[in-house]
């Protein structure tokens, strides 16, 4: 299938990109890696007049150490997130989740920023970013603002990014030494997750001191399993030690029902996968 006609610009600076976006507003669409956008255009589910390609803006790429946080450029590819040594040291969960995004070819093109800005609740990076307490740096004509992950994901395919704004960076508070695991449940490997759980855990001697847990595809946005997190503080890293905490993971969620599973089944899965994710994360802590 062939996309409908559109104009195309590939600015080399963020300012140019913002200017183009300001000029065309709703009629423009940002393309980052394009791995979710291009299928949409090919199936003609969306037909923007202008596509603004961020691929030529070098400053949006790469990972840098910023004291107590890592700053990951929005255009950093998933495969770079997987292998980046800073990410692996200070934000292991992101590396683990990025490794589970789609497949190799998609990870070579797809970007961290593009993925979270697309805001598919079944996307792998949203819950990982949420669990990491990431902050999203959004640039607009009037400068930049920073939005915490809890406010970033608004609804299905909807984020805090305004029509005339561009996501430039994701700031991730360091969780150096924390164990991490992304437990993804699929029927076949190339599927979006039916449910997935992102967990990162700090602790020692078989006891969990702190945990961050977020759920993928259990609602219209990534969801933080706060009750589970509180219950995990001080828990022993054993099946029985985390079971009760994990059982609370699905509380208050409204997962979808579709051909891969009903909402009821997803509630059940969320508890099982949370337990498994936390235990595997604790294993590396």
């Amino acid at each position: 299938m062939i996309p409908a006609q559109f104009d195309y610009v590939a600015p080399s600076t963020l300012e140019e990109a913002l200017a183009a976006l300001g000029e065309h507003g709703d009629d423009a669409k940002i393309i980052a890696g394009g791995q979710s956008l291009l299928p949409v255009l090919r199936m003609r589910l969306n037909a923007p007049e202008l596509v603004i390609d961020l691929g030529r803006i070098d400053s949006l790429r790469g990972v840098r150490d910023d004291g107590d946080a890592l700053v990951i450029g929005a255009m950093t590819t998933h495969s770079d997130v997987v292998t980046d040594s800073l990410v692996r040291e200070h934000a292991l969960l992101l590396s683990k989740a990025a490794a589970e995004v789609a497949d190799n070819q998609i990870r070579h093109r797809g970007t961290f920023g593009g993925s979270v800005a697309h805001a598919d609740p079944a996307g792998d990076m949203g819950s990982a970013a949420l669990a990491m307490d990431a902050e999203f740096v959004i640039a607009g004509a009037g400068g930049t603002r920073t939005v915490p992950a809890t406010d970033f994901f608004v609804d299905l395919f909807e984020t805090a990014i305004g029509e005339d704004e561009i996501l430039t960076e994701i700031r991730v508070p360091k969780k150096t030494g924390w164990g991490a695991h992304y437990e993804k449940f699929v029927r076949v490997a190339h599927q979006w997750p039916i449910v997935a759980v992102a967990a990162t855990v700090n602790g020692s001697g078989g006891t969990i001191s702190e945990a961050r847990v977020a759920l993928t595809n259990m609602g219209s946005t990534p969801l933080r399993a706060s009750a589970t997190e509180s219950a995990l503080a001080g828990a022993s890293a054993t099946e029985d030690g985390v079971r009760a905490a994990a059982d609370a993971a699905a509380e208050g969620t409204s997962p979808p029902s579709d051909l891969n599973g009903s909402a009821e089944y997803r509630w059940h899965l969320a508890t099982v996968l949370t337990r498994r994710a936390v235990l595997k994360a604790a294993d590396g802590a």
Binding site: M1, I2, A4, Q5, S36, P39, V40, M43, R44, L45, N46, H118, D120, A122, L156, F157, F185, R187, V188, A189, H190, Q191, W192, I194, N217, S220, S254, P256, S257, D258, L259, N260, G261, S262, Y265, H268, L269, V272, L273
Partner: protein
């Protein structure tokens, strides 16, 4: 003429794992897929399709599209009605079968979502697609009927004009046919003093999902109208185009170039082929149409789609006494090429390898407003094998015995061949005991049973299941007389031709039409052995009706058992013709001339001449026998007397995560009797691929429509094909008993894996959890269904008819 044979001796080709001749071009990207073709002046077509499953077309406005830039022409059904022909059904299964007229391009109503309604022809495919969006069609939406059981009620009609959704009822009864007893009596008796197993089983709708989307190019310029098409059946397409459009058959040339998989999905006459043909004739320029994957999924025919009612009667000791089958088979909204014939192909296979004394088969075909159904790998036989192998497991469970024990008790003993079954077919050879013993040994059957027990006793979160399938099938479709008796509209013979070139090379023209099976390699091996020429000197030609004028193409595991035999017979004719020439050249009496290893010799002398030399002498014809035409080329047409019957024992171990219902393949072993193996590399590859398609039906695939009749699993996002990461290696073995139905002893291998593996997997999963009270789980065995079954809520919940919206703009179901 050389007196001494100084050529190196050629080792036998049959049985050798030759690397494929086909591969060089495929691994270097020098391919001729239909969509790769570009002809001078070629135009591109896009199709406007119905968004409704059932509607009356009230108006079509083509004007805006016609005025768009670079648009050549636009058409609706009315404009092409007189020239486009109709889509035909070759197999009316009963004389009173109901079938609606099926125009390639809808004329006044649409009967499934995706049906073609208008076409746009443009200079580029992109412009055609752009203009297609400008076609304005108004519909009066009618209620669709989508479910088989609902359709049988005749409350909502897929085709109101027909007055019913029921198309045909096809029956076979062993008492009436004189091939066995009365099944109702057997069941009644078993109800009082034996065992009766009654089950309703669901064969979900599948999509063949060949990797190459279908594509067609029609060039109307020239003496013949040439169609390139991604098809399994170029000869049948040619015949049917002529039969339905009035264009003389001699004016049509059909070419199947490289074809990227078929699995029955390209055993089809497609509306797209017919429309492209009509439009190209209308415009007088070459036209190309290549479908998108979404179009392929929604409009290419689907497979399976049956509700199976099975009643098995047995004595208390497990000896089977009767089998009664009633199928309700979903045709979709039209009767496709084979149509109701596809489920009917299963009629002879439900009794399988077992000695049922009484049997009855009933098949009710029914219309729904869904995509039409037709052959998908195995076509009728996987459905039959699934049902009988599932029910034999239930019988074993009822008796508390090992599933292999109940099978052995009832199967045809190796001493009983040839054996005439209750459905009237004679199985020529087979040995179920040997295949089963070999499979058990390779599988480690006893060790896995011990592990299963250990896990059960321990209450392990992961339970192990062992599934059995001792299947047989009928291959080599099909003897023409049997097809005639079944009212099929064509024969089932196969044709081959051998051309002996002056330079010693050999051209073999085959009527079967490969799309991945390696015919060029395997047929070269057969001819190399038969004629005693080097493998490399043989060229196999196919797939172009100008080159291969006669043939009935590739499906039903027929290429080798029928096409291979035709090649053998053509080669034998070459040998006999050339013998006369050889005798003349050697000045010997023809009766004294012998042929072996590519060479004619005269008994009792050291005289000899190679067949290549005879070919050269025939070309020059300077010194030729009096009155003998200078031509040793030969052709042969082979029509079989009966089918061949591959069989095998398949053993599958699965691990079931009882917490999530997730099923993981642990081990798969099969030992098959596919008769003589020409090329073990190719045969084993066919098994691997076949196994996975069957496994995939069990675990992953399902074509799901929503309540409006839209295909929800309409892309590879939602129609789940497995990847390498979801599968394991397979242990494929052979236990050969050559067939007696053809001189090579081959039986057919293309469909065996698919037919056998589905019940092996389902039996395995049910076996893993049977101790928890589970007796059946509906396919595909989604984790949710397995988990629900473990919760005691049954494993038969319907699939939610909604997909997730991963692409912004898709309908949101949240």
């Amino acid at each position: 003429m050389t007196a001494v044979d100084d050529r190196p001796t050629l080792s036998p080709e049959i049985g050798r794992d030759r690397r494929r001749k086909e591969d060089q071009r495929l691994i270097t990207g020098r391919t001729r897929w239909t969509d790769n073709l570009a002809l001078p002046g070629m135009l591109h077509m896009a199709i406007v399709r119905s968004p409704y499953a059932h509607a009356r077309i009230t108006s079509i406005d083509l004007e805006a599209a016609d005025k768009a830039i670079n648009i050549y022409d636009v058409f609706d059904g009315k404009k092409l009605q007189d020239s486009m022909g109709v889509m035909i059904n070759a197999w009316p299964i009963t004389p009173d079968q109901k079938a609606p007229t099926h125009y390639p391009l809808a004329v006044d109503r649409v009967t499934f979502a995706g049906e073609a309604v208008a076409v746009v022809v443009a200079r580029s495919a992109a412009e055609a697609r752009d203009a297609a969006e400008l076609v304005d069609i108004e519909y009066e939406v009618l209620p669709p009927v989508l479910d088989i059981k609902e359709a049988l009620k005749d409350e909502v009609l897929a085709h109101p004009d027909l007055g019913t959704n029921k198309s045909a009822l096809w029956q076979f009864d062993s008492a009436a046919a004189g091939t066995g007893g009365n099944v109702d009596e057997a069941i009644e008796k078993a109800r009082s003093d034996g065992i009766v197993i009654e089950r309703e089983l669901i064969q979900q709708r599948l999509i063949p999902a060949f990797m190459e989307p279908r594509s067609v190019v029609v060039d109307p310029v020239g003496e013949q109208i040439t169609m390139w098409t991604a098809t399994q059946i170029p000869h049948i397409v040619k015949f049917a185009l002529a039969a339905t459009t009035g264009v003389p058959e001699s004016k049509i040339r059909v070419i199947a170039p490289d074809v990227g998989g078929g699995f029955g999905g390209k055993l089809a006459l497609t509306p797209e082929e017919w429309i492209t043909f009509a439009v190209a004739r209308h415009i007088g320029k070459p036209i190309k149409f290549t479908e998108t994957r979404s179009e392929s999924m929604a409009t290419g025919h689907h497979g399976r789609a049956q509700v199976q009612h099975i009643t098995l009667a047995a004595e208390k000791d497990g000896t089977v006494t009767g089998l009664k089958v009633h199928l309700d088979a979903d045709l979709g909204s039209y009767v496709a090429l084979l149509g109701g014939g596809t489920p009917v192909l299963g009629a002879f296979m439900f009794n399988a390898i077992y000695k049922f004394p009484a049997y009855q088969f009933n098949c009710q075909t029914v219309f729904t407003n869904r995509t039409w159904t037709d052959a998908y790998r195995g076509a009728g036989r996987p459905e039959a094998t699934f049902a009988i192998e599932r029910v034999m497991d239930d019988l074993a469970a009822e008796l508390g015995v090992d599933p292999l024990e109940i099978r052995e008790k009832n199967w045809i003993k190796n001493t009983e061949f040839p054996f005439t079954t209750v459905s009237g077919l004679q199985y020529d050879t087979g040995n179920y005991e040997v295949a089963t013993e070999k499979a058990k040994a390779a599988f480690g059957y006893d060790e896995l049973r011990a592990e299963q027990k250990e896990r059960r006793d321990r209450g392990d979160r992961v339970q192990l299941g062992i599934g059995v399938s001792t299947f047989t099938e009928m291959c080599g479709l099909a003897p023409s007389r049997i097809l005639g008796a079944l009212s099929y509209g064509a024969g089932g013979w196969e044709h081959a031709e051998i051309r002996m070139l002056a330079t010693g090379k050999v051209e073999v023209v085959i009527g079967v039409s490969p799309h991945g099976q390696g015919h060029e390699t395997a047929f070269s091996q057969i001819v190399a052995d038969r004629l005693g020429v080097p493998f490399e000197d043989v060229e196999v030609l196919h797939g172009d009706t100008q080159v291969s004028a006669r043939g009935l193409d590739t499906y039903g595991s027929r290429s080798l058992v029928l096409g291979g035999e035709a090649v053998v017979r053509a080669a034998d004719k070459v040998i006999e013709k050339a013998k006369v020439v050889a005798a003349h050249l050697m000045e010997a009496n023809v009766d004294d001339v012998q042929f072996a290893n590519g060479r004619y010799t005269v008994a009792g002398t050291d005289q000899g001449i190679g067949i290549a030399e005879v070919a050269l002498a025939t070309f020059t014809a300077h010194n030729f026998p009096e009155g003998f035409e200078p031509n040793i080329d030969s052709e042969a047409t082979f029509d079989a007397v009966t089918f061949s019957f591959p069989h095998g024992t398949h053993l599958c171990a699965t691990e079931v995560d009882t917490e999530t219902g997730q099923v993981k393949l642990r081990k798969y072993v099969c030992v098959d009797d596919i008769g003589t193996v020409i090329n073990p590399l190719i045969a084993t590859g066919q098994m691997h691929g076949g196994l996975v398609q069957g496994i995939s039906q069990a675990l992953w695939e399902e074509a799901v429509h929503d309540e409006q009749g839209n295909l929800v699993s309409g892309s590879f996002v939602d129609y789940l094909l497995p990847t390498a990461a979801d599968l394991i290696n397979f242990d494929v073995g052979h236990a050969v008993n050559p067939s007696t139905t053809n001189s090579l002893g081959t039986k057919g291998v293309g469909e065996a894996g698919t037919i056998a593996s589905t019940p092996a997997v389902v039996n395995s999963v049910v076996d893993a959890v049977r101790h928890r009270g589970v007796t059946d789980i509906v396919m595909p065995l989604t984790p949710e269904r397995v988990w629900t079954a473990l919760q005691g809520s049954g494993g038969g919940a319907a699939t939610v008819e909604a997909a997730e919206p991963h692409f912004e703009g898709q309908e949101d179901n949240r």
